[in-house]
């Protein structure tokens, strides 16, 4: 989007106010400029044809082609030649882009020749000399009187000098171009006066002082070529004002031509009408004139009205969005900024000054903005900003600003660069928000998390080391107790044998517990990376391992197709192993029947293992998942009490939950959930 800094920006940004709207009046400047350029080109062509026509008239000796009215002043060959050259220059200048990379090399030569032609002719008049250049091309067959036949008027010579000079200065920029425009305006004035003088037969206007008269053709052609010159560069000077798309431009474009040309024309018509002595005709002219002016004024007024309406609409739109933006910023506790990269000036909203702890109204630029940023974060900010500008992406950065003696102040800035036509970033604008509170929470959360993670890791290391190191002495106790029993049992009294067997049993139990503890600790330390695990496969692996207890108890497992989940295969097998193993172990007098089912829920799978065993008192439904918690005598139901703790640990590691629904004597139902992967949440069907 093109974006201009001027007040016109609001117009351009507002919907419905541009040329896309139904109003005929507001037009873009570019379109107006194109129109003026075309007009200038048309004028150059017209003058080219007219001057060639005159020259042809001279060469062919056709008098009516060189003077319109018999006995009037004829347009001289040298003037026609000069004007022809000027028309060529204008045609060339309008053909180029508004500011050509290189000025046409012939331009200065041709323009210089025109100036020279004017200068030589003028010097003849001033020095009372005759260099014979006046009739160099063709002899003058129109001037019968004495004097200098074929010589152009001094006024024309002056016009040639001025316009030629103007063309030399065109596209030079700066002061010389300004002077060129003034010179061309003077020529326009001379030509205009000449035409008016001829129309109203006021000789003093086209023959000033002692000079010779300028022909009406010369005056007219000079006027046209000067006009063309002024319009040849519609992006600067007076012509630029004509392209203004506001009401001033409308006024200039519509009224100026009327005032300049229609007014004299009407006056001329009036004089002609009264010369015929016909009052009715004069009245008609007056009526037509009034009608024309009224129509023009109304037309202009309408255009100006629609411009005003569009502007008002745009302004109110801008006001509304500004209000919304302000409210939003205030609500968010933020400030807005707009940094002009070329000029290194930044506009800050009042909130920005409060946020950044800068006294309100200080002119801001890069250096004093950066100075407010904590030195530790400056490189990050600069890097992020450069990258966002280079990538045409959103700039987003969190950093600290200096707040000596105060608490740490965190800021988040977000913004976006605006690029010029050349592709270079011109501005960067965005917002800043105070995120100190959020940062404080984040920090304490991170610290807490770190402590937690460290504690967890230490706990696991402790469990691993303890169980490893505990195993060796335990093994020794067990082994020597065994040795004692096997070798010296007959020499010990009964009491001693009993005590020895206590030692052996305890050592064995402790050994199983240490192994269980190790197994539990390994859930985390031996974790494999998650992969797609078909639960069907995991279940059948567990059932293979349970072959012995299944055949011993005559138990059966009923299952259904199971989906695949994202997880650790070994650990998921362990879950099935423990749950189904428990179902077989804690069986009632019935033949054990275990039912495995799955249910699709919103975001996860619900797996259930239902048995017809002895069931669990609801009071214990939490306790059973704790480590080494047992509800039964180890003599009746052997085990370490680690199985369900392992299940819970594994399921929770996978982002799920595990629980039991049971009544004593009515069997149990162990349920656990595992999250679905993203694709499955929306899709259908099992992946296994």
């Amino acid at each position: 989007m093109k974006y201009r800094r001027a007040e016109g920006a609001s117009l351009e940004l507002a919907p419905g106010s541009s040329e896309a709207g139904a109003d005929p009046a507001p037009r873009s400047e570019a379109r107006n400029q194109k129109m003026l350029l075309r007009l200038s080109r048309a004028l150059a062509g017209l003058v080219l044809i007219a001057s060639s026509w005159v020259l042809a008239g001279w060469f062919l000796g056709i008098e009516s082609w060189v003077r319109i009215v018999p006995d009037a002043v004829s347009i001289k060959t040298n003037v026609a030649l000069g004007i022809l050259l000027l028309a060529v220059l204008l045609l060339q200048a309008t053909g180029e882009a508004s500011t050509p990379q290189r000025v046409w090399p012939w331009r200065r030569g041709l323009a210089g020749f025109v100036v020279g032609l004017g200068l030589v002719t003028a010097s003849q008049s001033i020095l009372q000399a005759d260099y014979g250049i006046d009739e160099l091309l063709v002899a003058d067959f129109t001037t019968a009187s004495a004097g200098h036949p074929g010589r152009m008027s001094e006024v024309s010579a002056l016009c040639l000098i001025l316009l030629g000079t103007s063309f030399i200065a065109l596209d030079r920029g700066g002061r010389s171009e300004q002077i060129a425009r003034v010179l061309s305006l003077i020529v326009f004035g001379i030509g205009y006066l000449g035409v008016i003088g001829h129309l109203f037969e006021s000789e003093s206007l086209y023959r000033p002082g002692e000079m010779t008269a300028q022909s009406i053709q010369s005056s007219g052609l000079f006027m046209l070529i000067a006009t063309g010159f002024a319009l040849a560069r519609p992006d600067r000077g007076l012509a630029h004002r004509l392209t203004n798309k506001g009401s001033a431009g409308v006024l200039l474009r519509r009224l100026l031509p009327v005032v300049l040309f229609a007014a004299p024309l009407i006056a001329w018509l009036m004089t002609r009408a009264s010369a015929y002595g016909d009052g009715t005709l004069a009245a008609y002219v007056v009526v037509a004139e009034v009608a024309l002016l009224v129509a023009l004024v109304m037309w202009t007024a309408r255009a100006m009205q629609s411009i005003a309406v569009a502007r008002e609409r745009a302004e109110s739109h801008v006001r509304t969005s500004e209000e919304r933006l302000n409210w939003a910023l205030q609500a968010a506790g933020g400030g807005a900024w707009d940094w002009d990269l070329a000029r290194n000036e930044a506009w800050w909203s009042p909130e920005m000054y409060d946020l950044w702890l800068v006294s309100t109204g200080t002119p801001m630029h890069l250096d004093n903005s950066v100075a407010r940023i904590d030195p530790r974060d400056r490189d990050v900010v600069a890097g992020t900003m450069k990258k966002a500008i280079a990538d045409h992406s959103v700039y987003r950065c969190e950093f600290r600003i200096l707040n000596p003696g105060g608490p740490e102040r965190w800021m988040e800035s977000r913004g976006r660069a605006i690029y010029g036509n050349s592709g270079r970033a011109e501005r960067l604008l965005g917002i800043s928000i105070d995120i100190s509170a959020q940062k404080r929470v984040e920090l304490s959360l991170r610290q807490a998390n770190e402590i937690l993670e460290r504690n967890n890791a230490e706990l696991h290391r402790f469990a691993m080391v303890a169980s490893h190191d505990l195993q060796t002495p335990l093994r020794t106790i067990g082994s020597f107790a065994e040795l004692l029993v096997s070798r010296y049992a007959d020499r010990l009294p009964d009491q001693g044998q009993q005590w020895l067997s206590h030692i052996a049993n305890s050592a064995q139990r402790l050994q199983t517990m240490v192994k269980a503890l190790l197994q539990y600790a390994r859930i985390d330390s031996k974790a494999e990376p998650f992969e797609q695990v078909p639960m069907d496969v995991a279940l059948s692996r567990a059932l293979e391992l349970l072959e012995t207890p299944l055949s011993e108890t005559n138990g059966s497992v009923e299952t259904m197709p199971l989906p695949a989940v994202h997880g650790d295969a070994t650990q998921l097998v362990q879950v099935w192993l423990n749950l189904i193993g428990n179902a077989l172990k804690y069986r009632s007098e019935l033949l054990p029947v275990v039912e495995v089912s799955v249910e699709r829920r919103d975001r996860d799978w619900l797996f259930c293992v239902t048995d017809n065993g002895i069931g669990i008192d609801a009071r214990h439904s939490e306790r059973i998942f704790e480590m080494f918690e047992r509800l039964h005598d180890a003599a009746v139901y052997p085990g370490t009490g680690i199985g369900l703790a392992i299940c819970r640990r594994v399921v929770e590691r996978h982002g799920g939950r595990i629980w039991v629904e049971s009544q004593l004597g009515e069997g149990s139902r162990f349920c656990f959930t595992l999250p679905m992967s993203g694709s499955e949440q929306s899709g259908q069907g099992w992946s296994s």
Binding site: H468, T472, T476, G478, S479, F480, S486, Q508
Partner: protein
């Protein structure tokens, strides 16, 4: 002439484990002279006949514990691999560790076998009987003069 007993080198730092191993060998009935070293360095010195072990005999089998002070069992295996003249000794790792990574690392260093000490004396004795029976009675070993 009576056949001399086989020589067994036991690298083990734990006194009770040494005692248990001796007892289980005794129980197994295999006739063998057991030499004991207490760490990896001593084990290497014994094999190379250095220092106090200048007159050490050449063992037919080395039973190597992994967790020992100064130089661990894995480091001993590394040293043996680095010296071609030491590679002739069969080295069986005998340890309490059933850790997958320990087993893997030991075989990567080309140990001759890896035995996890079974729980319980009877089971241990059976294991020793199998190991010694295999290495000292069944398989052929390089002759003592070949190194």
């Amino acid at each position: 002439m009576k056949k001399p007993n086989a020589i067994l080198l036991l690298a083990e730092d734990n006194e009770t484990d040494i005692e248990l191993t001796r007892l289980s060998i005794e129980q197994s009935g295999v006739k063998v002279d057991v030499h004991v070293v207490r760490d990896g360095e001593q084990c290497l010195a014994f094999l190379r006949r250095e220092g106090a072990y200048a007159n050490a005999p050449t063992p037919q089998l080395v039973l190597l514990d992994l967790h020992m002070p100064r130089m661990s069992g894995l480091e001993v295996l590394d040293e043996i691999n680095a010296r071609p003249e030491l590679r002739v000794h069969p080295v069986v790792v005998l340890t309490t560790s059933d850790n997958d990574s320990d087993i893997g690392e030991a075989y990567k260093r080309r140990c001759s076998g890896y035995v996890v000490k079974p729980i319980g004396f009877a089971a241990f004795a059976t294991a020793m009987q199998l190991v010694l029976g295999y290495w000292l009675a069944l398989v052929a070993l390089p002759s003592r003069r070949s190194h």
